[in-house]
């Protein structure tokens, strides 16, 4: 029985981080109809920033205030997003997809190098926070408390986003722009502002995903490209542009991965692509998506 709880925690842990990455990707697609291939790099950027702020600048500190520095990575990723959306991406919304994909592919390459330039080749992490929280006893098992914090943050981010989109004025503007940009624009919505805000929120989520993992895991070069492929699987399963889809997609991927690792370790990798392929076969727009 206890082990089921542990497995559930593991699945939720993975799903929380995936939801933050894929949710951001999906949000951006939903509003701007652009698939950002550099999205995984924003996740990596969040991880590197938080790891260097918490793990390097304040390396000796044991203060509890350090927890408040975790979102530094999310803020950094959001700032970068707020910078590249108006300067680079905006001119591509009316252009064919191949150009959108390629410009973000170019950004991916540049960001990958930029992180190496700033942080060097070695993995960095911020483990003091992970250790500080210690472990929790579940029957015969002990489990890191920090992982539960990650799950909580993932859940809270989901609730917050839901509230933002369905319960605020900004959410109304966002949904209006997403459904019909021209009409929203005609009705006096500042579409450009909505775009930059939506993109920034999407990047913030990706950055937060990276930021919350570094106390327990580490920031390594190349993590962004891997994360992007996983996020793709999530949005393919859940439906591109759907936040509920991202949530369910992340949960499905989290659970399937946990089951695969503990029962068919050989399939850890392949099974995720297979789910994506099968879902696409049955429901091309994903479980929660709408076909264009």
């Amino acid at each position: 029985m206890d082990i089921l709880v542990i497995h559930l925690f593991n699945a939720l842990l993975y799903a929380s981080v995936l939801f933050l990455i894929a949710g951001g990707l999906s949000l951006i697609y939903g509003v701007m109809r652009i698939v950002n291939l550099a999205h995984g790099n924003l996740y990596a950027l969040g991880a590197f920033i938080t790891a260097s702020v918490v793990g390097q600048w304040f390396a000796g500190s044991t203060s509890g205030w350090l927890f408040l520095l975790i979102p530094a990575g999310a803020v950094g990723a959001a700032l970068l997003g707020a910078l590249i959306e108006p300067t680079l991406l905006r001119r591509f919304y009316r252009r064919p997809e191949e150009y959108q994909l390629l410009v973000t592919f170019g950004i991916l390459m540049v960001l990958e190098d930029l992180m190496r330039f700033i942080w060097g080749p070695y993995p960095i992490s911020a483990t003091s926070l992970f250790e500080k929280m210690g472990s929790l006893r579940v029957g015969d098992w002990i489990y890191p408390r920090y992982n539960l914090l990650v799950i909580a943050i993932g859940g809270l981010a989901g609730v917050f986003l839901w509230a933002l989109i369905y319960r605020t004025k900004f959410g109304v503007l966002l949904r209006a722009t997403s459904q019909d940009m021209r009409r929203a624009s005609a009705l006096g919505v500042n579409v450009n502002l909505v775009y930059v805000e939506a993109f920034t929120i999407g990047c913030f989520m990706a950055g937060l995903g990276g930021a919350i993992i570094v106390p327990g895991q580490s920031a390594v070069l190349g993590m962004g490209v891997d994360a992007l492929v996983l996020a793709f699987i999530v949005v393919v399963v859940g439906g591109l542009g759907s936040l509920e889809g991202a949530l369910f997609g992340a949960l499905i991927v989290g659970v399937v991965r946990e089951v695969a690792i503990s029962t068919f370790p050989e399939l850890e990798l392949a099974v995720l692509y297979l789910i994506a392929a099968i879902v696409l076969l049955v429901r091309p727009a994903g479980l929660f998506g709408k076909t264009a």
Partner: protein, 336 residues
């Protein structure tokens, strides 16, 4: 509309004139190894191989309007087909390799194509990407068959039944005998693809690209045409993969990974995918460019990334498209 206004329709030229131009180009390509060092010749051989892949890829992107982000799978499939034929069937003949590649790629693209052509736009891109990653993870996982990350080695093949002796210099072989072999296949591929895209079938593909609904309403069965285009595209890309293996000497799952698919897209856009010659020029230039970047700096990714971003912003029609536009402007100026 604005992008259409930028372009000029290709003038209808007599096939004779095109054949003459192609022949001149072929002669130049055939003479280049005599004046270039063996290293540059090898680079050109790589460029021609990728050009074959680009030609195939562009049947889908440029002519059918479908952006595949999974073409590395077919390239890698061709490469692995050759490696399997060496390992399990002890075949050495390059012609048999090419034949085997055509067969294997027909089977796989038929399955993938059947699935993929039901969708368009970004859904098509993501589906092709996901399916290519399935192949990649199989190549990666089934190491007892594929060698996993170690990959599979491919020795010097027999060309038109002539074996090369062990003692012969491999670089000499690759930059001469094999270069000309690649050149011949490349020219054949150019001829075949050119014919296909200029056939009524090719016109139908372009019609589907431009306007799916209207294409249906002139009586074209969209899906089966897309499926045929998918097959053609996959087979030519797989042939490129088969040609590439002897040059590289080894195939690993890297040849199937999605970022390599991105590079194939990069090449086509670099040359200009709305022109027949675009992907050819793009593949050759890309090859020299990446080679230069990797040699010049450890931050080669930044260099390539900046080139890509600058390209899509400033020269969306690629090298060939831009060159045509410049030529047309100059001609207009001269006339007035």
């Amino acid at each position: 509309m604005s992008e259409i206004a930028l372009r000029i329709p290709a003038a209808r030229r007599s096939p004779l004139r095109i054949v003459v131009w192609a022949a001149i180009l072929a002669v130049i390509l055939a003479l280049l190894p005599l004046v270039m060092d063996s290293y540059r010749t090898l680079q050109l051989a790589y460029g021609l191989v990728f050009a074959v892949a680009g030609l195939g890829f562009n049947v889908l992107l440029g002519y059918t309007g479908l952006l595949s982000f999974g073409h590395a799978a077919y390239f890698g499939l061709g490469a692995y087909t050759v490696a399997f034929m060496v390992k399990y069937l002890h075949v050495q003949s390059m012609e048999l390799f090419l034949l085997g590649t055509v067969v294997s790629s027909l089977v796989v693209t038929a399955i993938f194509g059947y699935v993929c052509v039901r969708y368009t736009r970004i859904f098509f891109s993501i589906l092709t990407l996901a399916l290519s990653q399935v192949l990649w993870s199989l190549a990666f996982k089934f190491f007892w068959v594929t060698g996993g990350t170690d990959g599979l080695r491919v020795p010097t093949p027999r060309l038109v039944g002539i074996a090369t002796s062990e003692s012969e210099d491999k670089i000499q072989f690759l930059s001469h005998n094999y270069y000309y072999y690649v050149l011949v296949i490349f020219l054949l591929a150019v001829a075949v693809v050119w014919l296909i895209v200029h056939s009524p079938f090719g016109k139908a593909l372009q019609a589907i690209r431009d306007n799916e609904t209207r294409a249906r309403f002139v009586g074209i069965r969209i899906r089966s045409y897309r499926f045929m285009a998918f097959l053609l595209s996959g087979v030519f890309t797989a042939i490129a993969g088969a040609l590439w293996v002897p040059l590289n000497g080894l195939v690993t799952p890297d040849a199937m990974v999605w970022t390599f698919s991105g590079e194939i897209v990069f090449m086509s856009v670099l040359g200009g995918f709305r022109n027949f010659t675009g992907p050819i020029v793009g593949a050759i230039v890309y090859n020299f460019l990446k080679d230069f970047a990797v040699g010049a700096t450890v931050y080669w990714q930044t260099l390539m990334g900046v080139v890509l971003i600058a390209l899509v912003i400033a020269l969306p029609t690629g090298i060939v498209g831009t060159a045509k536009l410049v030529a047309a402007t100059v001609r207009r100026r001269l006339r007035s």
